[in-house]
Subunit: 222 residues, 2 copies
DNA sequence: TAATATTTTTAGACTGCTCTAAATTTAGAT
DNA sequence: ATCTAAATTTAGAGCAGTCTAAAAATATTA
């Protein structure tokens, strides 16, 4: 049985490995865990002793297959709970992450499999992130940044890169949500803003930063 | 913010205060918490400093109104989660207690109020125990032990005194569940066993111990 | 390559919760 | 009233997780 803390460290390493592929540095882990490098070093020794990571002094850490399996199961629980909160309890997508941070540590296989079934085996969470199945397999899809669309092209929003509450609330204001059909009508070269039409209804202007955080599936022209 | 441990101590004191009314003794708390008297003493000082209990050396502990409020909210969460697991996720009544012990520590008023609403504001949990409402008020009902019924009298099962997995599984075997109509047909004086009819369908024999653990609402004869 | 800056580890300490063993207080029995 | 047993507290220590400060290793730069 792992402590919440140990589980969170595994998740942190997973998150780093996800993008950089290389071994997670002590400082990078400390940054995510909001703690000091010294504390991280202590924990790395502990997780290494439990064979959940491979750790070499001064070289960083990497999840072992067992560690990766646990991290994936945490991701699974996290995203299923987020889906539950949105689908069944009418939470909105910016409210669920913090709660899922608590709920992901509830320890019961039976519970999580029943929840999965109750939600009808969702493949994506309220932010469009893939939910690993019971075997740890993710269902990936082709997706591009909204900023990669050309003028006149359209896409359906299938995910957000950044999960920040403030960003999600901003999207709410703009009536942009998962599934929204987005048409790019103009790119202003000067300040790199975009003019887009949301769901064929309202036109809004967004910054490049926002356009880079919206992941869409391109709708092919007829 | 209280730790899980502190919350569990408050629940333990609540449980003792519930039946004995007197101050909870250090040993009684240790027994429930599965720990030593020395640990309890330490924690009593701590909870006392936080004004969650009144504690006097050698005299035992009692919840303050603030402590009682927290304990009640834990009971509320525990019983709502149990109800959720049974009603929505098809768990059976003997499986849910341990899981609720984890879930009751999830910290979010919004979550628990939404859950309450989602379950349609249940007044009793899967074991027939009353669920305090958001203000901490319990809905009590008249109930007597099955053993208090006379020959020929009937009652509906509305609760179980003992929540032991094994006891609940035994009731499953006998097809006895909340709501079951139970008719007492015979009391054997020699070994104090009871013959009862469950739901007008099958006759079973139960011991006095079982009869004392079944709480019923007497059905008045026409 | 040598000096400097950055990263990481170690050393030592602190808090929260736990334990055992010993001391103290209270309750019960004669 | 005194002795004994039971309950409770205190003393002292250990483990998990955290921190700061100092030392060591690695990376960067001149
Ligand atoms: Mn999340
Ligand atoms: Mn998510
Ligand atoms: Mn319970
Ligand atoms: Mn219950």
């Amino acid at each position: 049985m792992l402590s919440f803390t140990e589980e969170n460290y595994l998740k942190a390493i997973y998150k780093i490995n996800e993008k950089t592929k290389e071994r997670a540095s002590t400082n990078a882990i400390a940054e995510i865990m909001q703690t000091t490098a010294a504390s991280v070093t202590d924990m790395m020794k502990k997780l290494s002793n439990k064979n959940l990571i491979t750790y070499e002094r001064y070289k960083g850490s990497k999840l072992s297959s067992q560690g990766a399996q646990i991290a994936t199961s945490l991701i699974r629980k996290h995203r299923l709970w987020e889906t539950f909160l949105v689908e069944k309890l009418s939470f909105s997508w910016e409210e669920v992450h913090e709660l899922a941070e608590q709920l992901e540590h509830i320890n019961s296989n039976k519970l999580i499999e029943r929840l999965d079934e109750y939600l009808d085996f969702p493949k994506y969470d309220p932010h469009g992130d893939p939910i690993p199945n019971a075997e740890g397999k993710f269902t990936l899809r082709e997706q591009i940044k909204l900023s990669q669309l050309n003028i006149g092209e359209e896409g359906n929003l299938i995910g957000v890169q950044n999960h920040d509450d403030q960003f999600l609330e901003y999207l709410n204001e703009l009536n942009i949500k998962l599934g929204s059909r987005i048409t790019v009508t103009k790119k202003v070269l000067y300040d790199k803003t975009y003019n887009i039409i949301v769901d064929n209804e309202h036109t809004v202007q967004i910054s490049e930063k926002v356009a880079n955080n919206l992941m869409v599936k391109k709708i092919l022209a007829l």
